[in-house]
């Protein structure tokens, strides 16, 4: 065993690289052939990140432009007092859509897309570990997003604001299906964001180039890792919130209805527990891109690399303690206001560290004023201004004045445009040469920058003033004679100037952006692996990484990589594959065979979108058919997984033999399942929070039925855990035993769920009776969903057994199904225990 090794890997093997001698003839051609993209209309079946990443960024920018057009229409309406461009009703839909589309359909997908496009290249992987998952996430997002946007053209767009506060969004005050479009449309797109986050976490931790230990991990990958972790923690909260509100709307379960023990404040807590981290979720990847581009543009390593990494982690951590600063005017108790105020100020410290790390880097190098350089500098200035008004708003008494006024509109646009849009434009200019055969134009880029920079300040600087002059947010018009005319007119002019900059960028893209062919190369002399010569298979061979800036430190690296002198110079298994390495030291562990393009994930996305959209328009039968079809497509997609290759071990270069099959914690599938269960656990945790919150607001104490059934439910869930655990232990025995144990685990959790539900109904608690009825049934519904998925998995295992696909040579499926069943059983224990626990305590 090698000294200090994570997996027992002998690191002296790295010294065999770069290898000597010529590579066999035909190897490169085979690699090209294996990774070539689908032809013709089949481009939609592409799964390689070189395609999907570009589609993904493109779709996000499409939504940026669409939501930007909405902003222009709003600014036209507000240019003059009592203007008649948009009627009130339409304006309310337009501002809701602007915020919603910018946050959910542009900002989060855009940074996720950047990750999908860049990470495999930066990490030296051939692709992300679950290419079909990211393609699925992309198609679900695009179809769902376009359908959601089109609701605007039918007057069906939501009009409750992007924050959707009940009771305004309850059926009493929003009877149409507009609000349902938001709840189901956005709820669905959140699922796609989570799928992307799982992909990114596993990709960063498991598919790095050998030797790229965490201390050599590119700063962008660090940012994406924290970003994805934050999505895993934050998004479940809004998924729960949207589910509860939709249940209240569709089935009259009173979570937020104060007349039946609900509380509109519950929504605000759940929404902002997601909503504020969301801002940092958007900001972190952009900050990671800044910390990547500034060193490249200034030609010097990032000063304070570790401080910046720690700043990412601190941002992620603190951002979960600031959500209530959106609620300073709701009359929260004084002590909690103090804590949230302090946390809101503390979260600006890591931002300060990053800003001065960038300034120090600029100082230690020599800045080039090319287009990416201008955009990063502009970003820095705008972001600092937004951060400072953020500190102002974190001061509770000031927020009492500024909250919900144009001052905050100015603040948030400074933060988001400075913290995300400008870095994104810098990134687009900087990385276009990596994907396009021509770089973007420097001349047009300068025009774009200056127009956007000037337009940004012209549009948003006056808004600080109009806010202090008393102009509230979300108003479709304002009265004349209040001196609001001038600042509003200036803002409108600025908005159109900004749009002119974006228009020039679009022209630049049309003229110069040519993806999927050759690339323009390392135009900006970047130091990362993404600048290695590459084709659709990514790099010819996967290098051993020895430093943070490999291309600057190893002058011959590009040549050796291109000559196939490192890992995986060909395709030893004859199919698509990439190296899987260990999470800390990035030591090679095994080879991961990867799928080829296929249609199943696309159909799965179509039918998933269909399910949600048909549900929105209340076509219930059709939506169920769509759900069944989506499930079928997912099963077909999974069916190809977990088949061992005939070659148990292959040579991945220099005689290093790696296994082609993995299960358990070293495999990517295991990581993905565990992260998925963390997401589920977060939804559960937030529903427990909801239970306790509503319980604390209840006047009478909430009772819960306790009896023999309680013990039976607990026992059944415990036995289910045991069965799930045993199932993969007995694989060496006849497969029938494993299958029986799996089915038993699924049946036990289902039975326990049924008995628990019946006990509540026996106790006379109906879901529309009061808040307790609603939240107990919501938890039961959540558990019921997992029971159903567990049942489908059990049936899937039976089917695979019938086909002879269950055996000791392929334990992965059984392990993952077992993990899932064990989780469902544990969740059953929580949903059983929490109400009983609080029944014993008076509120």
């Amino acid at each position: 065993m090698s000294e200090g090794s994570e997996t027992g890997f002998d690191r002296s093997i790295y010294d065999r690289f770069p290898t000597k001698g010529r590579r066999p003839k035909g190897e490169l051609e085979q690699l090209r052939e294996i990774w070539c993209g689908p032809k013709g209309w089949q481009w939609i079946t592409a799964i390689n990140n070189n395609f999907v990443g570009v589609y993904y960024v493109g779709a996000a920018m499409l939504f940026f432009v669409l939501a930007g057009v909405l902003a222009l229409v709003m600014r036209a309406q507000l240019a003059l007092p009592l203007n008649g461009v948009l009627p009130q009703e339409t304006y309310n839909q337009v501002f809701t859509m602007h915020g919603t589309v910018m946050m959910f359909l542009f900002a989060v997908p855009a940074v996720e897309a950047l990750g999908v496009l860049l990470l495999p290249q930066m990490l030296g992987a051939r692709d992300l570990p679950f290419p079909r998952l990211s393609a699925y996430a992309f198609w679900a997002y695009l179809i769902g997003g376009l359908a959601f946007f089109c609701s605007l053209f039918f007057g069906l767009a939501p009009d409750g604001g992007w924050f959707m506060y009940p009771p305004l969004t309850s059926t009493t005050y929003s009877p149409g299906i507009n609000a349902d479009f938001w709840l189901l449309g956005i709820g669905f797109i959140e699922i796609s964001a989570i799928a992307g986050a799982i992909e990114i976490i596993v990709g960063v931790l498991k598919t790095r180039a050998p030797g790229m230990s965490l201390d050599k991990l590119p700063i962008f990958a660090w940012a994406m890792l924290v970003f994805a972790g934050m999505i895993i923690i934050a998004f479940p909260s809004v998924i729960l919130a949207t589910t509860l509100l939709e249940l209240e709307r569709a089935l009259n379960w009173p979570f937020f209805d104060a007349t039946r023990g609900g509380d509109p404040m519950l929504w605000q807590h759940l929404f902002w527990f997601f909503g504020h981290p969301e801002v940092y979720i958007i900001f972190l990847p952009a900050a990671g891109a800044m910390s990547t581009m500034i060193p490249a543009v200034a030609r010097t390593p990032l000063v304070g690399h570790w401080m910046v990494v720690l700043a990412f982690l601190a941002t992620g951590f603190i951002s979960f303690g600031v959500w209530a600063h959106h609620m300073f005017t709701t009359g929260l108790p004084g002590a909690s206001v103090g804590v949230f105020s302090a946390a809101s100020m503390a979260v600006s410290l890591p931002a300060g560290v990053q800003v001065f790390a960038w300034i120090a880097t600029v100082a230690s190098g020599k800045m080039r004023f090319n287009t990416p350089g201008l955009f990063v500098l502009g970003s820095l200035l705008i972001f600092v201004m937004g951060g400072l008004t953020g500190v102002m708003a974190a001061m509770v008494p000031f927020d009492w004045q500024a909250h919900d006024t144009y001052f905050i509109v100015a603040h948030l646009h400074y933060v988001l445009i400075g913290g995300m849009v400008f870095p994104l434009f810098a990134a687009i200019y900087y990385w276009t040469p990596m994907v396009s055969s021509r770089p973007l134009s420097e001349r047009l880029g300068r025009w774009t920058f200056w127009l956007m920079f000037a337009g940004m300040h012209l549009a948003f600087l006056p808004m600080h003033l109009s806010g202090l002059m008393g102009m509230p947010r979300r108003v479709w018009t304002y009265a004349p004679g209040r001196d609001l005319e001038l600042p509003n007119l200036i803002s409108t002019v600025g908005a159109f100037l900004f749009a002119a900059g974006v228009l020039i960028w679009i022209i630049d893209m049309v003229r110069n952006f040519r993806p999927f062919g050759s690339d323009a190369g390392n135009v900006y002399d970047g130091p990362g692996l993404e600048w290695l010569p590459a084709e659709l298979y990514s790099v010819r061979s996967i290098p051993v990484v020895k430093s943070l800036y490999p291309l600057w430190d190893q002058k011959t690296l590009a040549r050796d990589v291109e000559a196939g002198r490192y890992f995986l110079p060909g395709a030893p298994t004859g199919g698509r594959e990439t190296l899987v390495t260990s999470p800390v030291q990035a030591e090679p562990q095994h080879l991961l065979p990867m799928p080829k393009p296929s249609g199943w994930h696309v159909w799965a996305a179509v039918f998933t979108a269909g399910f949600f959209l048909l549900l929105t328009v209340q076509a219930y039968a059709a939506s169920i058919v769509s759900a069944v079809l989506a499930t079928y497509c997912v099963i077909r997609w999974c069916w190809f997984l977990d088949h061992p290759l005939p070659q148990k071990e292959v040579d991945v270069g220099a005689g290093l033999m790696l296994k082609t099959y993995a299960s358990g914690p070293s495999s990517t599938g295991w990581w993905a399942m565990v992260i998925t269960l963390v997401v589920a656990g977060m939804v559960l945790a937030m529903s427990v929070f909801s239970y306790v919150f509503l319980w604390s607001r209840s006047q009478a104490s909430w009772s819960a039925p306790i009896g023999a059934e309680t013990l039976a439910v607990a026992a059944m869930n415990l036995v289910a855990v045991l069965c799930a655990w045993l199932a993969s232990r007995v694989l060496a025995k006849p497969p029938r035993l494993t299958v029986m144990l799996t089915v038993a685990a699924g049946a036990l959790v289902a039975g326990a769920w049924w008995i628990d539900l019946k006990t509540w109904q026996g106790a006379g608690l109906s879901p529309d009776l009061n808040a307790q009825g609603a939240i107990v049934h919501a938890m039961a519904a959540w558990q019921g969903f997992f029971v159903a998925v567990g049942a489908i998995m059990a049936v899937y295992v039976v089917l695979r057994w019938l086909f002879g696909y269950v055996g000791p040579d392929r334990p992965a499926t059984i392990q993952l199904v077992g993990l899932f069943h064990a989780y469902v059983a544990a969740q059953g224990l929580v949903t059983l225990g929490v109400p009983r626990l609080f029944a014993a305590v008076p509120a």
């Binding site: 302090a342 100082a363 200035l381 500190v391 001061m395 003033l465 018009t477």
Partner: protein
């Protein structure tokens, strides 16, 4: 005279947030200026650092380009600034969120879509008087405003008198305000409440104590309604189903109390000056003036009836 005062209350310059008129707003003004100065100072520090990083001679830049800069300017400096601010902010928060005192005047304001129901309470919390869309207060006396809502969330904001506070169904928030000078102060809903949120305003009118007593005595009397054509039209058109005019058969509670509507400063919840012309316009087609509001338009009324009813309502002083 009245409309003039109302007009002044809506002036945007100087910015109301920076033009406090009472002890609950004045510290916020000081704080705002303090924060603006802090923001300007930090911005200058960043700009100077960046300018040096970009353009200074190499040896200077070399000195700047190390981790020391991050420790001092990126961490140390903000920690000091933020600590000072935090102490200031929290002590001010505590001071301004004191519970209502026994001597405070009690007023309950209920947010409605999209107007304000105002009830003056006695010390025991019993309702003495109902009014709408304007709040009368005596100068120099603290008023504890009990904020409630029966429909959706609204937010009560009079920037010259205090910060804003939300009105949340199922909860009661108390905001204390005090005006140090007689005058009118504009207020509006700050929390998006759907439909006509943009047009949901009101005024606070501060009187010298003796004027306040006079106003209160008059407001507590029932309407001085003489029999008139307008009163008949009002009754025949069914207006009393939604509106109350104390002393008449009109006793509806869905809409604003109109007992002394003629003496109000504004119509339509703070959006129009109050005179016979605007009153007629509002009755005939309030939907054109304030789309989506809960009062139907009355295009069926003849011009004569409309004028008569407006004259009647305007006479309710």
């Amino acid at each position: 005279m009245t409309t003039r005062a109302a007009d002044e209350s809506f002036k945007g310059w100087p910015p109301p947030v920076l033009d406090p008129a009472g002890p609950f707003a004045a510290p916020l003004n000081t704080l705002t200026w303090g924060l603006l100065a802090m923001a300007a100072l930090v911005m200058v520090v960043v700009l100077v650092a960046l300018a040096f990083a970009l353009f200074a001679p190499r040896p200077w830049r070399k000195r700047l380009g190390g981790e020391k800069l991050i420790w001092i300017a990126g961490l140390g400096f903000p920690v000091v600034v933020l600590s000072v601010l935090l102490v200031w902010g929290l002590s001010l928060t505590n001071k301004l969120s004191e519970r209502p005192q026994p001597g405070d005047l009690r007023v309950r304001v209920t947010g409605e879509m999209w107007w304000w129901r105002v009830a003056y309470l006695d010390a025991a919390g019993r309702e003495v008087l109902q009014d709408a869309n304007e709040i009368h207060v005596p100068v120099g006396r603290t008023v504890a405003i009990e904020l409630e809502s029966t429909d959706v969330i609204h937010s009560f904001w009079v920037p010259r008198l205090a910060g804003k506070l939300d009105m949340i169904p199922g909860r009661r928030n108390i905001l204390r305000i005090q005006a140090d000078k007689a005058g009118t102060y504009s207020g509006q809903c700050a929390e998006y409440c759907g439909g006509a949120h943009a047009l949901m305003a009101f005024v606070v009118i501060a009187h010298a104590p003796e004027d306040y007593a006079r106003w209160r005595a008059r407001a507590e009397r029932p309407a001085l309604a003489q029999p008139s054509t307008g009163a008949v039209v009002f009754e025949k058109s069914g207006c009393g189903a939604c509106h109350t005019i104390r002393g008449t058969s009109a006793n509806g509670v869905a809409g604003p109390d109109l007992t002394h509507v003629g003496s109000r400063h504004t119509l339509g919840a703070g959006i129009l000056p109050n005179n016979a012309g605007t009153m007629s316009g509002w009755i005939a087609d309030s939907q054109a003036i304030k789309p989506g509001n809960r009062m139907p338009a009355y295009p069926v009324l003849s011009g004569q009836d409309l004028r008569a009813m407006s004259a009647y309502l305007e006479s309710l002083k």
